[in-house]
Point group: C2
Chain length 653, copies 2
């Protein structure tokens, strides 16, 4: 199918550095390879998913990010882009591949050494060795440091003993466990000679070649879930299961042939965070995947709104198109704008990941910043995805509830993205803590009065390090301040100031509250700051995303598309400010009159973008063929004379 030239231009801009790669997916991957039928049973969905992953292992669609020696092709940034494209097709498929290639394969790649790479990566890549990433336990998910599974060195046999000491130590929600997995990368507390060395990872075979669980391994099946039926999540428990010394992934710590623990990182804590840091790609992928599913839903809902007419208006002949109603524009277009904003930010974070990997540990500060941003983006994108997928469903009315429409499947599958790879509430607090650390590094223990003064000069400081070309934003801010008030609402520099001010002020307030709380040393005092922390995390992500959008526009080569994107960015920026207008009013950043003017400006932008809504949907980049969701079992139409649950012969008699 063809799309409009505007849609094509937008797609090119939004794909950014990954345009060629993404076009390969669009041209080469047929719907049958990637869109699953909507009415499959669990077992059918699992069979389909495994089969389609194997299809995708061909033609370099899942090999990016692996070492070239084992068949890797392309960068880790490209593996993120691959994940995003896959997620426009089917999320079970995406998560199954994410478990197999991203997590299991990624653990071997990043935490293992040459022997592990040579021995296990080829099977991880071509799925001849289906693998699990056994980190989460029934008792502990986001709090990985508290997991109970033990990996104990037995000097007598030169083996590790992997054990689940309690029912809550069972590995839980593990993808690939219930049906297909043959091996698991098991996270556990390492003990050597009675000494605890923190969380490490051992490869443990969990099924034999016939598919039977290995001795000492108990596997459970979570069965039906809220979505992702194609992913066989299960539990795994270990009863003193023994593996040879080599099976420990020992890049950051292991036991030598002499039976001594050795690590190049001395601090247990630092080691833990270094190991977890290698998993940052998963978090980046999850945010991007949720955004892809949302782009698909928006593509469906915007198209529907451009076809569906409801209610006749006095004096007008035809019924009105849904997209012509202001409320309907309001429901969809600000989220289309967010889809662009998050898309540009996602491109940026993928490139940032690649730069960190290329630097190979030489820039720990940048690595820490990436982790913070990945946590924040994951939380923001998956939250937005859940809300927007639901809005799209409802915007399609009853038709949106039929699985053929495609939205409910994406909605159900994307739901868990808010929880896995780090619960959103936990992640946003993690972001806030990082911001506080930066804040403290900048401000030290200075008294509060001094802080307030210095804050006025904060722009450009390390705390609010800008993510995009400094000169561009400085110019925008300067220009905005020279504009007459009426024009400021559409001045990008004003948007930047509003976003920056909100982040800065929230983090400052939080720093003050934390300082007071630290004095009392009670749980209650710290607990009281929790909602404030979460607001800080959100404000940070908003600012980072706006800057990425600005950079994306700067890099666009097509003037017509650029002009359109400027409007989309206006809508994004103003609708975020509108959502947070209570905060701005409470902090007297602007007054009631301006607050209402912002709402009017969002209304006006919706009206202006309405005529381009189809092209904007096309620009989101979901191949048209993948928007159609077939079904397997139930025929859509029953002709007279035949009942659905009777065989055709019986009905004919």
């Amino acid at each position: 199918m063809t799309i409009t030239p505007t849609g094509e231009g937008l797609r090119r801009a939004l794909d950014g550095p990954f345009h060629d790669l993404k076009m390969r997916w669009r041209n080469e991957v047929k719907a049958d390879d990637i869109v699953r039928h909507t009415d499959m049973s669990i077992e059918e969905a699992r069979v389909w998913t495994l089969d389609r992953i194997k299809r995708l292992t061909k033609n370099e669609f899942v090999t990016a990010g692996f070492p070239a020696a084992q068949g890797g092709t392309g960068t880790s940034a490209e593996s993120v882009a691959n994940f995003e494209m896959m997620a426009m097709g089917d999320l079970s498929l995406t998560i199954k591949s994410g478990v197999q290639h991203g997590l299991f394969g990624g653990a071997i790649t990043n935490l293992g050494t040459t022997w592990h790479h040579e021995t296990f990566l080829p099977g991880a890549i071509d799925v001849s060795l289906p693998g699990c990433f056994a980190m989460t336990e029934l008792g502990h998910g986001s709090d990985v440091q508290s997991i109970e599974t033990s990996i104990t060195w037995d000097a007598d046999t030169s083996e590790f003993v992997v054990h689940s000491p309690s029912p809550t130590a069972a590995k839980a929600y593990i993808g690939n466990a219930a049906r297909d997995g043959r091996m698991a990368a098991v996270f556990g507390q390492l003990w050597v000679d009675g000494e605890h060395h923190g969380v490490h990872v051992a490869l443990v075979p969990i099924r034999d070649e016939k598919g039977n669980p290995m001795p000492g391994v108990t596997i459970g099946d979570h069965g039906h879930k809220g979505g992702l039926l194609g992913v066989d999540n299960g539990t795994i428990s270990f009863e003193h299961v023994r593996v040879p010394r080599e099976m420990l992934l020992d890049r950051y710590g292991g036991v030598t042939e002499e039976g001594k623990y050795a690590s190049k990182i001395e601090s247990k804590n630092a080691r833990f965070f270094t190991m977890l840091g290698t998993l940052v790609r998963g978090r980046i992928c999850v945010g991007g995947g949720a955004a892809s599913a949302t782009r698909k839903a928006l593509s469906i809902a915007v198209r529907y709104a451009n076809e569906r007419r409801q209610f006749r208006q006095p004096g007008l002949g035809e019924e009105i198109l849904l997209i012509d109603y202001l409320q309907h524009q309001r429901r969809l277009l600000p989220d289309v704008a967010k889809a662009y904003a998050y898309g540009f930010a996602q491109n940026e974070i993928a490139l940032q990941l690649q730069r960190i990997l290329d630097a190979d540990g030489s820039d720990p500060q940048a690595a820490r910043e990436l982790e913070t941003r990945a946590a924040g983006m994951k939380a923001a994108l998956t939250r937005w995805a859940n809300d927007t997928l639901q809005e799209c469903r409802e915007a399609c009315g009853g038709a949106g509830y039929m699985s053929d429409n495609g939205i409910t499947l994406a909605r159900q599958d994307a739901d868990i993205f808010a929880t896995f790879e780090g619960d959103n509430t936990v992640l946003l607090q993690l972001v806030a803590k990082a911001l506080l650390l930066d804040y403290k590094a900048t401000w030290g223990d200075m008294d509060l009065a001094g802080t307030a003064q210095k804050t006025a000069k904060l722009l450009g400081g390390r705390f609010l390090e800008r993510t995009t070309a400094r000169s561009v934003i400085d110019r925008l801010v300067a220009t905005a301040n020279r504009k007459p008030e009426a024009e400021q609402l559409r001045a990008r520099g004003w948007h930047v100031q509003m976003f920056e001010y909100r982040e800065k002020h929230i983090v400052e307030g939080l720093a003050q509250r934390m300082r007071s709380a630290a004095k009392t040393k009670t749980f209650e005092a710290v607990n009281a700051t929790q909602p404030h922390m979460i607001e800080a995390g959100k404000a940070h992500v908003d600012r980072v995303v706006l800057e990425a959008f600005i950079e994306g526009i700067e890099e666009c080569q097509d003037d017509y598309i650029k002009t359109l994107l400027v409007k989309v960015c206006d809508l994004f920026a103003l609708s975020v400010i509108e959502e947070n207008r209570a905060w701005y009013l409470e902090h007297e950043v602007f007054d009631a009159r301006r607050s209402k003017a912002i709402t009017s400006a969002v209304d006006a932008l919706c009206g202006e973008l309405r005529s381009q809504s189809l092209a904007l949907a096309e620009g989101l980049g979901v191949p048209e063929e993948w928007l159609v969701h077939p079904r397997t079992a139930v025929p859509p139409l029953i002709t007279p004379g035949r009942r659905v649950d009777e065989a055709p012969e019986a009905a004919a008699s």
Copy 2:
């Protein structure tokens, strides 16, 4: 299972006038009768649902609201309470019964006359005559007046000819159509002797005794949906299908034996709205059912939060219970408070329905008010349900995504409640229009300056007719105004003032905008007011619900429970004000300082109610046994040596 005395007291208060009836459900209906396994295929779910409805037809659980002569027992208000209880078990079951007993049976009861009652109601009640309610078409849902199906009188044969003149005329999303239905109540445009008489309803057999579609009837199966798998939604098209004269439901209009159209309501428009008005019970049920499913999810999530511990805090030995985190309290407790608020409001609207029915048409103004309230409540409760079910899912982390937990099933089933029985966006505009009519009736065409003056005295006027004992609220308002400012935040009278002011001011502003828009007579001008209309509808429902909560507290006989409910109502009122604080700030109703104080007050109330959270969950009234969701096919645990997709014998070899 037993619950705490506080839980019991709360349950009694919230059940209100329906306590005895609801206790019958809790005591007599076993989980196996009402909670479906989570992993059924479409066909299994359909079979289970039909079977369980038949179980419930015994013991008077679905017979309320039918004429006593045909086996009816109890009032229509009780039929609403029955619907709510069923919805705590399973929503497919509830909707299937809603289609069969509420819509199909309700159409016969309310739009038919004696012959229809005698001939069809017994089968409608005991489900020996499974029936459809064929109103919505592919082309038109909420806009019923525009449906295309025609019902044309043929004087030669004294028959009606039911016909779908185009593909978009196909009846769509019709429950009971795809598998079980034998007859349909078909909405269509009635034509007699070339004259159009508007929408009427004819009973049309759609399948014969063998289950084959009748000649001229084409039935389609929507197949898999986003939820409600137990309801067999389908399409029905008619190709000049003939039915005898008697099959038209003729209470409000029909064709005489002499072949003449006759109706006791002259105006086509009035007739249409009278007929639709009889369907108001369905709308009340849908809101209540969505609220029941949400109560179930809140019961699960609050219990989980009282058991699940995560993250150790410095200086504290044990990990912290989720419910102890302020953010977690914030996620759940305001919604628990809303569950109480909506519960009291639901009791009130059910009684109001009964009063209208008992008045038998003698109070059209009250009937119109009921319709307005039903529309608004349906929109508010189903919106809240969707948001809260998702929040509960996420608050249970990964465990919440496993279908065993029960939330995702309710979430998927309740999704469509936002759309069916009237799309929420359409309904809120309907509420706004009714408010504008009241406003106009009170204010006429007076000039705006005059309006503003008179508005100051508006309290108690017809436009803002209070729903509960006037004296109670007047006393509360008077008391609040005498309190020192610091105490006002917890003064109910202040809450009432805030809710009333918001509704009043939004409707006034809307009236002004509509007046200007009416002058221009363009679609654009009216369209621009749409978000404003929706806000008016929301503000109205908020106020009505608060008043119902106040009345519920007044009627509570237990002082301890009453004191607790006062706090819950504080939390409800303040969190609604907090959600709308941007509006209050924009309209300078209160200042930034007070706005922040409201947030602090909500935090504090969450902390105060935390220790009662389990009892509050119990009070929501979901039987403990119904909170457990079994599964059919996949065993939860696989013992070593057996693979899930292998037969036990094969594995043993």
